[in-house]
């Protein structure tokens, strides 16, 4: 696995291997079950969870519905507080803005706070091409970076690795990136965290430029908020001279008071905590405390296209808590990499095809990467009806036609004709019943191969129900 999502295969192909990787399956099952049970407990502590969720949904909707106004208000407030606001229509433009800012400072390295937006735009690779090294400082992002891997989870990007795999990566790669791993490093999580602390401390102390994302931007005050656990965020947001934050335009919320909703919803949904260990808020720059220079890069990169879809736009409410991944039976068995983007799991299946479009094979396959079981919708803290959006996007994929969908459309139309003619349907049912002795249970017939690989076909009954009804109940006048 090298660090790129380019040219990924369609989801069903990608999961061929991952569903059979017993180590991966064990890692994922252990981790997701641990966190989903904890989340349920953390949420149960608040008897007004349903009201909080409704408020979160509505605040996000209100912001999205009047996004232009809130973005302008945010821009005004950030600028008034000493920050500089940049607008990026796409990934290339955002990367260019960041690279130019770093070069203007004469720097060749930056420290990074974990950020989905910068993963999405491939910032690290773009900076590398300009001779700038970006050091990931979140423990899991560090594991991914040292292992030349890709993140597979929104909250815990290295969820697919267990403790002994992580130890091996640290021993093998830390020395090439900076301070090597301590001798005799164990696979105890506390020792691994300590090794990361030592490895990164020197980078924090010398870095002149930091790059972050943000969880929330408050339009009313121009305040940015980063929610984290480890303190690497605080290091990056506090110690360097220059801070550049790359944030999707959907992350804005109207008021400071609105944080009262999201700072309850997010930690409990995400890490299953009453509150995450560290939350940093800053408004522009503050003399003598923290970065003297602050740049905010507002990122579109497909968000306005998503916003244009009346059903699909609800995906932009997402606060990246990852609760949907942790309850998803498909994610648990497929793993994050199969989704071919930094946004895996149920939210990825509706966000990626909207941000990137449905032209590529993997993006067109994502809306089908779900059994529509609805567990994701149940836990979503901003009530994104993910199954609704999945089906909505399937319609767009089917309309687009292409591989496999032409045959499918023909079959659906044929079935539609039969189902529109009960007499024909009954005749077909009868024929199937009469020939049932001839039906193979195990050998694949046309179009049912994927079914019979792992399952027998059901035995056909002696007669369909409608025939039983005719014989055993005198047909009543249906009005």
């Amino acid at each position: 696995m090298s660090g790129t999502y380019l040219g990924m295969p369609a989801f069903p192909t990608a999961v061929r291997a991952s569903t059979k990787d017993t180590q991966l399956r064990a890692n994922l099952t252990h981790a997701t079950h641990t966190i989903r049970d904890k989340r349920a407990k953390a949420v149960a502590e608040l008897d007004d969870w349903a009201q909080l969720r409704e408020a979160g949904k509505d605040i996000k909707d209100q912001t999205l519905h009047h996004l232009d106004r809130y973005l302008l208000q945010l821009e005004t407030q950030v600028t008034a507080a000493g920050g500089v606001v940049h607008w990026a229509t796409d990934a290339a433009e955002a990367n260019r803005i960041v690279a130019d800012l770093v070069k203007a400072k004469g720097e060749t390295e930056v420290v990074k706070v974990k950020s989905m937006a910068t993963q999405e735009i491939g910032l690290n690779e773009a900076l590398a091409a300009e001779g700038i090294t970006a050091y990931e400082t979140d423990l899991a992002e560090l594991i991914v970076q040292l292992g030349d891997d890709l993140p597979s989870h929104i909250l815990v990007p290295a969820i697919h690795k267990n403790r002994s795999e992580i130890r091996d990566i640290f021993i093998e790669a830390m020395g090439r990136w900076g301070r090597p791993a301590p001798d005799g490093l164990s696979d105890n999580p506390a020792d691994l965290a300590e090794a990361a602390r030592l490895h990164l401390r020197e980078k924090f102390l010398r870095a002149k430029v930091a790059v972050s994302g943000a969880n929330f931007m408050v339009a009313e005050t121009g305040t940015l908020v980063v929610v984290e656990s480890e303190g690497n965020g605080r290091m990056c947001l506090t110690l360097p001279e220059t801070l550049i934050s790359v944030v999707g335009i959907e992350k804005v919320i109207p008021t400071w008071q609105d944080l009262g909703v999201f700072l309850q919803l997010l930690p409990r949904s995400s890490t299953a905590e009453r509150m995450n260990p560290y939350t940093s808020t800053w408004t522009g720059t503050t003399g003598g405390d923290g970065p003297a220079e602050f740049h905010l890069v507002l990122l579109d990169n497909g968000r306005t296209a998503t916003l244009a879809d009346e059903v699909g736009r609800q995906a932009l409410r997402c606060i990246r808590c990852s609760a949907c991944l942790n309850v998803c039976p498909v994610y648990e068995r497929a793993g994050g990499h199969a989704y071919g983007s930094p946004y895996p799991g149920p939210i990825g299946a509706i966000l990626t095809p909207q941000l990137r479009g449905i032209q590529s094979e993997v993006d067109a396959s994502l809306p089908y990467a779900s059994s529509l079981c609805g567990a994701c919708y149940e836990v979503c803290p901003v009530a994104i009806d993910i199954p609704e959006v999945l089906v909505h996007l399937r319609e767009q994929v089917a309309d687009q036609g292409g591989k496999g969908h032409r045959l499918e459309a023909a079959a659906i139309r044929a079935a539609g004709w039969i189902l529109g003619h009960p007499a024909v349907l009954a005749a077909g049912e009868r024929a199937a019943s009469k020939t049932r002795k001839l039906h193979p249970q195990k050998s694949p017939g046309p179009g049912i191969g994927p079914w019979t690989e792992t399952r027998d076909l059901p035995e056909m009954p002696a007669e369909p129900f409608r025939d039983w009804w005719k014989k055993n109940r005198s047909p009543k006048e249906g009005r």
């Binding site: 069903p12 999961v15 569903t19 990467a369 529509l372 149940e378 399937r394 659906i412 049912e429 129900f465």
Partner: protein, 251 residues
Amino acid sequence: MRVALFATCVNDAVYPTTAIATVTLLERLGIEVDFPAEQTCCGQPQYNTGYRRETEPLVRRMGRAFAGYDYVVSPSGSCVAMVRDNYLRIGTKARTEGRGSELTEVAESLTPRTVELTEFLVDVLGVTDVGAYYPHTVTYHPSCHGLRTLGLGDRPRRLLEAVKGLELVELPGADECCGFGGTFAVKNPDVSAAMGTDKIRNAVSTGAEVLCGADNSCLMHLGGMLRRQDSPIRPLHIAEILATTQAEAHT
């Protein structure tokens, strides 16, 4: 009270015993049931695969078939969920696209009247003890659409617990999807099979004789896997258990 049975296409063609059991059970409880022959399919497979326009004639057909009944009762949570959760969406989109409000009217008419069997028994008839006798150990898998979309909650469990002779054993990981998911089972066969395998392992671990569900489409997937693996536990729809009495063993 005029009650229509919405048998569903899968039960009509493949699992008639479930539809017969539903009729038997409701008649035993004093309900006169009708089966309007115009009914075929609710359109869920088409809709969930991305063919919304193709479901519209089926929505109209459902409206015609079940016009005038107080209740439309179905032994399938997912088909009831299709009506209650998606018909209004289909109608609204059709209206937005300039195809009139007929589908919206069908949705508004059907949604409040269409109920899943266990809902009808517990909420409408107010019974949990239906006088059934079934001397076997049973574990219950709550299918997703019944569990989450309809919010069936503990209704199926309460009905099973009241069955004489029946020992209900808890299914580990009961709330997790079995992996059927309609066309998901063939579009993503590897994940579907992995989910089904885990569900079956949990079911077998209970030591129960019967894996009971309220949705034959899920049981078709699980049953197919159980047969392939020569598993000791057999799948059975809850209607067939509830229809069984000491006097009349349901087959």
